[in-house]
Symmetry: C2
Subunit: 377 residues, 2 copies
C-alpha cells in the first residue's frame, strides 16, 4: 500500500460499472458506509490541524499493520488530499467515492481505496473513518459484508479504541449517524418515471417508508441523467439487518414502478419516449459542444432506448462508464490536464459522438414507410 | 374574381418563396404597403358595423369594375373574414399577408389576393384599404411599382374619393402613416449574426438610420427562425423614392454584416456553427414532437449550413416553404382540420423528418478520422 496518483490509481472501469449485479436494468450500484471514530481524538470538525494529521498517520500505520495479516486492502492506494489539485479531488466525488464536504478541505484528509473502488476508507470526512463498499447492482448484503470485514480487522487493530457507547452504539460526529453508523445507499436509474412525470410517486413512496430519494451526488444535489440515490436516514435503534432489508425492499418497489412504466412505453411505442430517445441519438451524434447536464440526460434516454429494445450497442458497462467520464472533473483527469468550460464541452461532445458511432437505432426510427403527414397537392 | 376558401385559394408555394430575388441568401422577401382611405367613410376603428360592411361592399364593386378594364387582379380571390375559422384567418398572418389586428375582428374585414400572394388588398385593417405587394428577395422598387399600379387603377375608379390633403398627403387612421402612406418592409434571415451574438450591432445600425429591426411578424412580435423585418417608420415629408432608397441602403448594410460573419464562420470552420448546424440536423432528423419556436431555429441553422457549404439539399424555396408550413395555423390549413397542440408538434416533427431525408451533411460532420479525445489506456 502506497501513495498513489488519482489519475493513474483507479481502474478506468471500476467494479461497480464493470460487473453485472442484480436488477442492473434499474439499479446502478449499492453502497454501504460505516462511520467509526476513535476515542482518543476530537471529531474532525473540531480537531486541530495537528490532531487531524496525527489521526491520519495513526490510520496509515494501522493499515500497514493490517496488510501483514490480511490481503483485504492489497493494491489499495493512499490518496492524501494535500497532494492533489481541486479537480483531481473533485473526480473522487464524481466517481461516487466521497462527498463534496470531504474534498473541500485538504489538510489531514485522505482516502484509501482499492483500484476497482469496491472497498475504500474515507479519512477525516465528517467522522474519523468511513468504511465504504461500492458494488454493482442491488447487493447491499454483499457490500455490508465487505465493509464489515474491514471494520472487524480495524476494530481489532484499534484495540477497543473505537468510540462506542452501550446505550447509543457507535458514536459519530453528527448524532444522526450514531448507533449502527450504517448508511446503506442504492443508485437508481429512473428515466421512464422521469419522462412520464411519475417520479413524484416514487418519491412519496420512499418518504412513506422513511427514506429519501436524492440527487445523483447525495444530499442536497440535483439529479443528473435521471440517477437517484436512496438511503436510510435512521441509524440508531435498529440493527444492521433490518436497515438493509428495509432499504432493499423499498428499492424493489421503485424497481417495479420503473419497469412497469418502461413496459408501457415499449408496448404502445410511446411517441413521448420515441421523441426522447430520437432526440438523444440525434443530438449526441451531431453536437460539437455539450454541457454535462444536457449530455447526461440524453445519455440516460439512450439507455432507456436500450431497455425498450429500440437501441443496440450501448451496454450497461459502457453507459455507466460514459455517464461518469463525461463529468467535468473526470474529463480533466482523463485528459490529464485542466480544461476550460468550453474545452470540456467540446471534449465531452467528441467523446459522445465517438461512442454514438457504435450505437444503432431500431428501424422504428429509420424507416418510415408511410407518412402521417400528407402534403397538399 | 370570387369568394374563395383560404385553404384552397393560395398556391402552396407563393411567389415570394418560389422565385429567386436579389440577395436572396439574406433577404427573404420585400413588401410594399400603401394605406388608402375613403372620404365618405369613418376610419375602421370608429366606423359602425353597418358602415364597415358598406365600405367593403363598395370595394368589392370597385374591384368588379376594375376587372373589366384590367387583368391586374385576374384570378384574385375574395376572402371575407366572417367565412373563416380563427385558425384559417391566423394562417394569413403566418403567410405574412396581414396583421394580427386585422384578423382579430371578422365583421366587415376581408382580403383580396392573387393566388401567388404577390398582390393583395387588405380591407378594413387599420385603414380602409392597404394595397400590398409581396415579392421574393430584395426588390422594393418592383413591389412599389406593382402596388402603385393597383393604386392608380383604384384611385381612378374611386373618382377622387381617396382621402388626401394638400399639406399632409394621404390621410390615415393613425397619423404615423399619413403622407405617402407607404410602408416598405424587408424580411431578413440573420442566423450568423444571431449565432455570434452580433445582432445588437445590426439593430443599432438600423436604429441610427431611423429604422427598426422587428420580429418575424412585425411590430411587437418575436423573431422565429432568426427572421427579422425592417421597415420605414416615417411616411410623411419624404417622397416614395427616397423612402425606398433609404430602406434599401440600410438593408444592404445588414446584408454585408451577415455575409461577413458567415464567411468568417465558414473560413475557420467555427465549432459554434458546426454545433448549431449539427444539432439542427440531428434534432430535426429524430425528434417526434417539436414546437414551432424550436423547429424554426433549427431550420434556420440548417439554412445557415447551406450557406456555409456544409449542407446539401435544402433549397432557398424549400427553406421558405418549410419555415411557413411548420407554423401552427398553416399546419392546420395543410391538414384541413384543427389540431391540438400535441398533434401539431407531432405533425411538424413528421413533416421535418421527411424533409430532412433529402438533406445531406458535409463530410466535415460524418467522417472524423482522428479523434481529439484520446481514451486513457
Amino acid at each position: 500500500m502506497q501513495t498513489q496518483n488519482i489519475s493513474s490509481h483507479f481502474n478506468s472501469i471500476p467494479r461497480w460499472m464493470r460487473r453485472y449485479g442484480n436488477d442492473c436494468d434499474v439499479v446502478i450500484s449499492s453502497r454501504v458506509r460505516l462511520a467509526r471514530n476513535f476515542n482518543q481524538h476530537q471529531f474532525p470538525h473540531v480537531a486541530s490541524s495537528g490532531e487531524l494529521l496525527e489521526m491520519r498517520q495513526n490510520v496509515f500505520e494501522m493499515l500497514l499493520e493490517l496488510s501483514e495479516t490480511s490481503n483485504l486492502l492489497e493494491n489499495a492506494g493512499i490518496l492524501p488530499f494535500e497532494e492533489f489539485a481541486d479537480w483531481e479531488r473533485q473526480s473522487l466525488v464524481e466517481r461516487h467515492l466521497t462527498s463534496t464536504d470531504h474534498i473541500a478541505q485538504e489538510l489531514g484528509r485522505a482516502m484509501v481505496a482499492l483500484p476497482d473502488s469496491s472497498l475504500s476508507l474515507l479519512i477525516n470526512e465528517e467522522d474519523h473513518l468511513r468504511l465504504q463498499s461500492l458494488l454493482p447492482g442491488l447487493q447491499l448484503d454483499a457490500a455490508f459484508t465487505l465493509a464489515t470485514k474491514l471494520d472487524d480487522l480495524l476494530e481489532k487493530l484499534s484495540e477497543g479504541d473505537f468510540a462506542f457507547d452501550q446505550k447509543f452504539g457507535y458514536l459519530t460526529a453528527c448524532p444522526t449517524n450514531a448507533g449502527t453508523g450504517l448508511r446503506a445507499s442504492v443508485m437508481l436509474h429512473l428515466p421512464a418515471l422521469e419522462l412520464t412525470e411519475r417520479l413524484a410517486e416514487a418519491k412519496q413512496m420512499a418518504t412513506e417508508q422513511g427514506f429519501v430519494l436524492r440527487g445523483t451526488f447525495g444530499e442536497g444535489t440535483k439529479p443528473y441523467g435521471h440517477l437517484y440515490q436512496i438511503s436510510n436516514q435512521i441509524t440508531l435503534g435498529r440493527d444492521e439487518d433490518s436497515i438493509l432489508l428495509d432499504v432493499g425492499e423499498t428499492v424493489l418497489h421503485i424497481i417495479e414502478m420503473e419497469r412497469e412504466v418502461r413496459a408501457a412505453l415499449a408496448g404502445n411505442k410511446s411517441k413521448l419516449a420515441q421523441d426522447a430517445v430520437g432526440r438523444a441519438y440525434g443530438t449526441l451524434s451531431f453536437a460539437r459542444r455539450i454541457n454535462y447536464r444536457e449530455a447526461s440526460n440524453h445519455l440516460s434516454f439512450l439507455r432507456l432506448g436500450t431497455h425498450l429494445n429500440w437501441i443496440k450497442g450501448l451496454s450497461h458497462q459502457r453507459f455507466n462508464e460514459l455517464m461518469v467520464n463525461i463529468r467535468p472533473a473526470c474529463l480533466q483527469v482523463t485528459k490529464g490536464q485542466t480544461l476550460t468550460s468550453e474545452e470540456r464541452d467540446e471534449t465531452r461532445a467528441t467523446m459522445l459522438r465517438e461512442a454514438l458511432r457504435k450505437i444503432r437505432l431500431d428501424s422504428l426510427f429509420t424507416s418510415e414507410t408511410t407518412s402521417k403527414y400528407a402534403t397538399r397537392s
